[in-house]
């Protein structure tokens, strides 16, 4: 039988993979994708808690609304982030974080 711990383990491992991606990769876009993985890991644990917190025969829908808002804000964040990456690429012709290490240019 699948328990809450299994979902939390899956969520935590997904978060760890995303975290490793942010630390290990040098391409801004890959780092951005790893950030998305971490966001989704948090969402998975939220949905898990929602489903295992049953009251009056219904799961806790507040958590699902929170996940809905997280997904919405994440979509806005992706658009702005990718626009910044494109602007950076136009200015510097690179997406490697090690080549973009000055605050002012």
């Amino acid at each position: 039988m699948v328990t809450l711990n299994d979902y939390l383990m899956a969520s935590g491992l997904l978060f760890a993979i995303g975290f490793a991606g942010v630390l290990l990769r040098r391409n801004v876009i890959i780092i951005f994708m790893a950030l998305e993985l971490m966001l989704n890991a948090a969402n998975l644990s939220l949905i898990g808690f929602s489903r295992f917190n049953v009251q009056n025969g219904l799961p806790d829908y507040n958590a699902q609304v929170l996940v809905f808002f997280v997904i919405t804000v994440a979509a806005a964040e992706v658009t702005v982030g990718l626009a910044i990456i494109v602007a950076l690429y136009r200015a510097r012709q690179t997406t490697h974080v090690e080549d973009i290490n000055t605050l002012k240019f």
Binding site: G12, A16, G18, L23, R26, I84
Partner: protein
């Protein structure tokens, strides 16, 4: 959902999440991310969150990933050349990850009722989309409008960012 299906989808999700990090080619990374998100949507459905599962596929596997692929192909990114690893940084990263996994296992062992079975739910005539919709439009109406404004501001910001050259 049977445990076999659950572990299959968890394995798919984690494997392709790993491929996102390990692939040298950004396009392959983006496509791995799509598969990972699809498996995640299956996990949402296994938790009876059908609405969130559908949103996950539509927004993440659809819109966001198309955006990623579009930017990768617009910038014409080549496969990342192998660079000399910063050895202390890599060691530090692995130490952080190991510490994180340790904390994670501690939390999982200590969570109240963490070993509980999946409690049965009685989904009435209204599905979960109805329930979520009622909450969004009644209890969290203000938050919904704030998020709508946020998206408007984000889209204006994107237009401005892509118009002007960074000086």
């Amino acid at each position: 959902m049977s445990p076999i299906l659950f572990w299959t989808f968890v394995a798919i999700m984690l494997f392709f999440a790993g491929m996102v990090v390990l692939n040298r080619n950004p396009v392959a990374s983006a496509l791995s991310l799509v598969v990972s998100f699809l498996a995640l949507a299956a996990l949402y459905v296994s938790l009876d969150a059908y609405f969130i599962g559908v949103i996950q596929i539509l927004v993440y596997a659809g819109a966001v990933m198309v955006l990623f692929l579009f930017i990768i192909m617009l910038l014409d990114l080549k496969a990342e050349i192998r660079r000399r690893m910063n050895f202390p940084a890599v060691c530090g990263g692995f130490v952080v990850i190991l510490l994180f996994l340790k904390v994670l296992s501690d939390v999982c062992n200590g969570v109240f009722g963490g070993n509980a079975k999946l409690p049965p739910i009685s989904q009435g005539p209204q599905g979960d989309a109805w329930q979520v919709g009622m909450l969004i439009f009644e209890r969290y109406n203000l938050a919904l409008q704030v998020v709508g404004t946020l998206i408007l501001v984000a889209s204006i910001g994107v237009v401005i960012l892509s118009k002007r050259e960074l000086k």
